[in-house]
Amino acid sequence: MKQVLPTVAALALLAAAPTPSQAATLTVGTSAEPSALDPHYHNLGPNTRARKHVFESLVSMDAKMRLQPELAESWRAIDETTWEFKLRKGVKFHDGTEFTAQDFVYSVCRIPNVANSPSSFTVYTKGIAGIEAPDPHTLIIRTGKPYPLLPVELSTFGIISAKAAGGGAVTFDKAGCKAESWPTTQAFNDGSLMIGTGPFKHKSYTKGDRQVLERNPDYWGPQPAWDTVVFRPITSDGPRVAALLAGDVDIIESPPVQDIERLKSAPNVSLAQAQSNRVIYLALGVQDTPPTITGTDGKNPLKDPKVRKALSLAVDRDAIVKRIMMGVAEPANQYLPAGFYGNNPEVTVATDANKAKQLLAEAGYPKGFQLTLGTPNDRYINDDKVAQAVAQMFTRIGVQTQVDATTANVFFSKRNKQEYSVFLAGWGADSGEMSSPLKALIATPIKEKGYGTTNYTSYSDPELDGMLDTALATVDDAKREKLLQAAVKRAMDADIIIPLHYEVTVWAMKKGLSYEPRADQYTLAQKVTPAK
């Protein structure tokens, strides 16, 4: 103790004195931590965020989720099932070796061979039937069937160095690439294989505490403004805001909605916000025996399109956005906001309680029925409060609604067992285009096609599935967009997935910094700049 006290006093003095300017270090407070640094280990937001600083992909997405060149300078479809990618020349890995087509081949080969991967990237590589490299900077990628989303999917995973990982000679084989061994996740976590082409080099990593990166002076693209970047996971909302206000960190992601007013009025904080790719929706189950509906003699009223339309009309989206989301959301009229690929400008939603009551009466439920609405209470912004509001709006048209709010892991288990007739959830379209929500939420569950993976409503419309089939086999971008727009119209007319709002993602940072807000919600240090 004798030595501690003077140290404390000295520290207090030090901290009170003006600190020297550290313009070249950026400290980021993140809301979640990656489960590993291995870029192929876990297909999860925080992992991808961490990956994008060190490892790059052939194609990347800009802040509005439009495709742009990264390690590939250009690409084109030679025919329906053959794609040609021209790779960037003169790109160096962090260990000095040159990036070539072989590194891509090796990365695609390694993805199915990551041990213990909880959620693998193979969803994005299994469309690939063959890869050839006529020269070190050209890739010919063949797909088994017409596959327009190939460039989008190639933006999801990072490319590691084949040479550093000991795979210089591996060739692609659809049935499984041959290699003596594959690099372990541990080799990435301890830093030995953190060799990418990205704007930052790996420096150190302490799980739960911090990840430190330093600038890559040989980066092919524009140099980031920071010599050093520190990522600190601060998973609790309040402390993350406090860390920013205290000056411990320079920028934080997703400050809690209730603190946004305060941050706006703080003199040394500025905010950036953008519409995200995530829609919050209600899903209406059309099972034969509804699990959480009573007062209908066991029948499922949601099978009647009129009842579904009535529930959609009952929701006042503007009120939810203004009063519950405090403006940190935009009312939604379909599954992706305007400006995203596949958004159909002709699709609209309306709020009309009287019409809703009338439709209920026409459907044979003049006195309504009782309903329990399932929702998580810690997954989306204000999720349980939104559900409460929706319940009141349903009750107003005569459908007595209760809310069953539980923590996310319990909610998702119950939902996946179809224990709710109606539930609230969210969908972020990682691909940034309309086929993602259509395929996952409303298409008929078909294993082979990967359709309906999150369709827990028992809804099935073969005609809609057919429209999706056609769209997903159309390589012509303009034609495909028309087909997706038609499909979203049909899906919205069914009122199975009722969109409520698009979440808005907010970043808070020290005054003097600027960040272009991203629809995919990633916090990228290379895009944080000192404002001029």
Partner: protein
């Protein structure tokens, strides 16, 4: 003595076995990890593959047998989320939590005993009353709120101390510790204070109650009558006698401070076991939750054993081994 220790070890083994069964059954009751772990974009084949990879396709009793089998070999399973051994993950975080807990206990003892003594010796003085009122606050204010207030006061408003995180560390015995560097110490102060608050109040109350009782005993009166210096009366005759309950309670509380520093670790983003536990529960990372709870059980068992031994040193009348000596 040896018999006592052996018997305690046997008891402890039973506790550990019972706990592992309870924990395993309990963790099975909440949710399905697959629903949380897997990307919603994954298709049905991916899901099936992941379920098989994690061994979740087997019935519970089979999973339990497999768990016991490898646990006997010292392997508590592989984290679903991080893909590394769960026990290693927990032990890696242990020094950070231990350091925080010991600092908190130090604060509680160094401040609590003198304050409690004072309040016990002068119960009607203004200082005595202030101390007691303060201890009530320490009991009743929620840790989370106090932590946020500490951050708002000392980090945000005054800017004296960092708002969270562990700061720089230095290596001792191959482990990273914060208290060895100035930056680390600065990061340690607020969370240690936050964690100490409840224990501090407890120590104050125990010390005060003990002092009031002991001060009226004949031997204290006799010591005073003999003309011993007041400092010696308080320092030896009173202090030594109030320490027995304090040591017992602190021993037990050390376990709980380590086990339940969850709240403080979350508020201050302190990379300890508690934060790992919360994250693991939210992600349904079963092996990590089980490893954490088993480590905690072992910790309690060891601490209780040490408490019993220290107890006998403080008061020779208490004999270990059930009075057959």
């Amino acid at each position: 003595m040896l018999v006592f220790i052996l018997r305690r070890l046997a008891q402890s083994a039973v506790v550990v076995v019972a706990m592992s069964v309870l924990v395993f059954a309990g963790i099975f009751a909440i949710g399905n990890p697959i629903d949380v772990l897997i990307s919603p974009e994954a298709d049905a084949f991916e899901r099936a593959a992941a379920i098989a990879r994690l061994g979740l396709d087997k019935p519970m009793h089979e999973q339990f047998i497999r768990f016991v089998d490898s646990a006997l070999g010292g392997d508590l399973g592989t984290s679903f989320v991080h893909g590394v051994p769960a026990l290693g993950l927990v032990l890696q975080r242990f020094p950070a939590t231990l350091e925080l807990a010991l600092c908190a206990m130090l604060v509680a003892v160094v401040l609590g005993i003198p304050l409690g003594l004072w309040a016990g010796l002068k119960p009607d003085s203004l200082a005595g009353r202030v101390i007691m009122t303060g201890s009530i606050l320490g009991f009743s204010l929620p840790t989370f709120w106090v932590g946020m207030m500490l951050i708002m006061a000392f980090a945000v408003t005054l800017g004296w101390l960092p708002a969270g995180g562990r700061g720089a560390t230095a290596s001792l015995f191959g482990v990273q510790w914060s208290f060895l560097t100035a930056d680390g110490l600065a990061h340690l102060i607020l969370p240690a204070l936050n964690l100490a608050l409840f224990k501090l109040s407890l120590v104050i109350r125990l010390a005060r109650a003990g002092t009031r009782e002991v001060a009226l005993q004949d031997y204290v009166k006799f010591a005073r009558a003999k003309g011993l210096a007041p400092a010696r009366v308080v320092g030896v005759h009173i202090l030594k006698n109030i320490m027995i309950p304090v040591v017992t309670v602190l021993g037990l509380e050390l376990g709980s401070v380590i086990a339940f520093s969850v709240v403080t670790e979350s508020v201050f983003a302190w990379p300890g076991m508690g934060k790992l536990l919360i994250d693991s529960i939210l992600q349904l990372d079963r092996p990590v939750v089980i490893a954490y709870l088993l480590v905690t059980v072992l910790l309690f068992v060891v601490i209780n054993l040490i408490v019993d031994l220290v107890y006998s040193l403080l008061d020779p009348r208490i004999r270990l081994g059930g009075g057959r000596a």
